[in-house]
């Protein structure tokens, strides 16, 4: 009798847990849909670490019809005679005849059919009339032609004077107002995709989303003097530089750099710049052949990990994103650093990712790092002059084609701003999946990047000299996590790069 009561009590206690497991739990923060018509929360649930959305919610929001094929267990989603076929056994879907992969297959939860939220951008996006972009890290689902710039903030110098930079990418109009104890940046956009550093630093107490919509507030310390702000726009990114002196220091002015002067008009036909969409990714598996890279005492080698992750990334990019991929090496061979850049340049890759695994002198260093090229004086000169040294050559249609003249060994100089944007996206996506180093994004004179004539970055996935990281680097979970992160970052960068193309 006593046993029966105990078992009954245990079942009663476990029932709610089983119910939660079946129904899922709400995510830490809701997904917000942003469209011209307005914004709304999109209900999703977390089940076994996977964020799912009910297909009936998708039908309501996007005006699609959902039909279940009972004999096969498959599900068909139709939008204006275009169909998506979902498999209940495989994490794939056919969207308009094109196969895309999903993190999980369609599942049933009670009377509802659930799909991973990635379904929206990967499967529905290709057949929908309007653009659908999912930014899971910032919990945004953008539909249609909406302006949602990424707004980042960082403390450059603790000081005093404390220096900080706010980056708005892509560029949209903004105004800066210096108020008592704070600086307010108003950004003309439908919404913001913010990423600010936590906590206080120097004379800046906090950089955060402002109280008014589409504003950023920089909260100053009580000991701060009158700040100076400078706004500059380059390569599609607006940078607002803030310098906060200590109280009592001379007040400074707020300036906005004038846009570059319009070149004088001539009777020549306007130059023709070919519109070429982002279509090719160059993946460089670091080291190889005689060059082993970092190795552990028990034989794990950097060159083997980089090649394996490169292959995983290629598979994702080709099947999910539909872009072409060129690998600098597909097997265990020695390649010079110039050969690696040449493969990317000769194939006119749109982005260059060099994959590496790090090593330190001590065992405590851990986490992924991203390197972007830093320029010395020569490189800065090339960067400043790259536009001026563009040469207009006659084109077949009677116009002129702009050809940039850049020294081979400094080709990266003209792409630094975009490489920094790429690094930001890589860092955000990696941070969601793998541990990051305290110095996640760094600038350094990295040889393989100097000759890359496209946005480029080095990704150091982990430290093989750290026992725990080396252990994880052997496994599929870590390698798939890195490949997923790099894939997501490239997908985001493609949207960013295509948006910058001339219309």
């Amino acid at each position: 009798m006593r046993h029966t009561v105990a078992v009954t009590a245990a079942i009663l206690l476990l029932l709610p847990a089983l119910f939660v497991q079946a129904q899922g739990t709400p995510p830490p923060s809701p997904l917000t849909l942003i469209a011209r018509e307005g914004r709304r929360a999109v209900p999703t649930v977390m089940v076994s670490g996977q964020e799912l959305i009910a297909l009936d919610e998708v039908a309501t929001i996007f005006q699609v019809t959902v039909a279940e094929d009972a004999p096969t267990g498959g599900v068909t989603v139709t939008y204006r005679n275009r169909t998506i076929v979902l498999s209940s056994t495989q994490p794939i879907a056919s969207a308009g005849g094109r196969v895309v992969t999903l993190p999980a297959p369609v599942t049933r939860s009670g009377r509802r059919l659930m799909v991973p939220v990635e379904f929206l951008s990967r499967a529905l996006g290709p057949i929908y009339d309007r653009r659908i972009e999912l930014r899971r890290a910032s919990r945004l689902l953008m539909v249609g032609d909406v302006t949602v710039p990424r707004v980042g903030g960082r403390i450059d110098v603790v000081g005093p004077p404390t220096r900080a930079t706010i980056e708005i990418s892509p560029t949209v109009p903004s105004t800066v107002t210096v108020d008592v104890g704070r600086i307010i940046v108003r950004i003309e956009a439908d919404a913001l995709d913010p990423a600010f550093p936590p906590g206080a630093s120097g004379l800046i107490d906090q950089i955060r989303t402002g109280d008014q919509p589409n504003t950023v507030a920089v909260i100053l310390d009580g000991a701060a003097g009158m700040p100076r702000t400078t706004t500059a726009t380059a390569d599609g990114v607006t940078r607002i530089t803030i310098e906060v002196p200590a109280a009592g220091a001379a007040p400074a002015e707020t300036t906005t750099t004038a846009p570059p002067p319009t070149p004088p008009t001539t009777s020549d036909p306007p130059p023709v710049i070919a519109r070429r969409q982002f279509s090719l990714v160059a993946i460089d598996a670091g080291h190889g052949g005689d060059d082993i890279g970092v190795r552990t005492a028990d034989g794990l080698q950097e060159k083997e990990i980089t090649l394996d992750v490169a292959r995983r990334l290629r598979q994702r990019l080709e099947t999910r994103l539909g872009v072409r991929v060129i690998m600098t090496r597909e097997d265990d061979r020695t390649l010079s650093l110039d050969e690696r850049a040449a493969i990317a340049n000769n194939n006119k890759a749109d982005v260059f990712l060099s994959l590496h695994v790090n090593g330190a002198l001590g065992p405590g260093m851990a986490g992924a790092e991203i390197y972007v090229l830093s320029l010395d004086d020569d490189g800065e000169t090339v960067r400043r002059r790259s536009a001026a040294e563009a040469v207009a050559l006659p084109a077949v249609n009677g116009g002129k084609r702009i050809v940039e003249v850049v020294p081979w060994n400094l080709a990266q100089a003209a792409h630094i701003d975009q490489s920094v944007s790429l690094a930001t996206m890589l860092e955000e996506e990696l941070r969601r999946r793998v541990p990051m180093s305290p110095r996640a994004v760094q600038r350094a004179g990295m040889r393989v990047l100097t000759a890359a004539n496209m946005p480029a970055a080095i990704v150091e996935m982990a430290y093989l000299t750290n026992g725990d990281q080396a252990s994880k680097a052997r496994g599929d979970d870590f390698r798939n996590g890195v490949a997923d992160a790099l894939y997501e970052a490239v997908a985001r960068f493609r949207v960013f790069a295509d948006a910058k193309l001339p219309q």
Partner: protein, 195 residues
């Protein structure tokens, strides 16, 4: 009754032993004192070679940054000779708790400075034993470049050569094809004296 007789005797013996030890120690100290001669060289000098105090750069035990450290380096007559001494000391094993960012076995083949203030540091054995990794390679390069520029004001830039030749990198990452300027990005904390 027996205890009353033994206790004073034991105390007496102990006092005598203590007195004898004290007298012996005093005599030994007096006997070992060096004779005072007003013209003797400074007793603090460890050797006859004059030294300079130079700022060298070593890695933290974790290898995440470089720490500047003041070290005694043999004095040499002239810029190039002094540069060789600084680099030779930089390449030696550092004192605790520092860690060398330069692989053991690295040797200095040559050091020279051009009229423009570009120094050339020609090393050997650095690539074969380098542990690899972007960060560690950055530490290696910055330790060499900063050690020269921090101590020789006439030098503005440093180019590293390996076995007498220009090379792309030491271990596959950091560009050393051209002379490099001082880079303090990986330097942490203030300088301390290292013995």
């Amino acid at each position: 009754m027996t205890l009353r007789r033994i206790l004073p005797a034991a105390v007496g013996v102990a006092l005598l032993a203590l007195l004898a030890w004290g007298v012996t120690s005093l005599l030994e100290r007096l006997a070992s004192r060096a004779p005072e001669t007003p013209n003797a060289p400074a007793a603090a000098a460890p050797s006859e070679t004059p030294h300079i105090s130079a700022t060298l750069f070593y890695a933290t035990p974790e290898g995440d940054a470089l720490l500047p450290a003041r070290r005694e380096v043999p004095f040499a007559d002239g810029l190039v000779a002094q540069g060789r001494q600084i680099l030779t000391t930089q390449f030696e094993a550092p004192p605790e708790p520092y860690v060398s960012a330069i692989p053991a076995g690295t040797t200095l083949r040559a050091f020279y400075v051009t009229a423009k203030g570009d120094a050339f540091v020609d090393v050997s054995g650095i690539a074969a034993t380098h542990p690899g990794g972007s960060l560690t390679e950055l530490l290696t390069v910055q330790a060499i470049v900063n050690a020269v520029i921090a101590n020789l004001p006439a030098v503005q830039r440093v180019q590293i050569l390996v076995d007498g030749k220009e090379v792309d990198t030491i271990a596959g990452h950091v560009d050393i094809r051209r002379p490099l300027v001082r880079d303090m990005s990986l330097i942490r904390a203030k300088e301390t004296a290292a013995q």
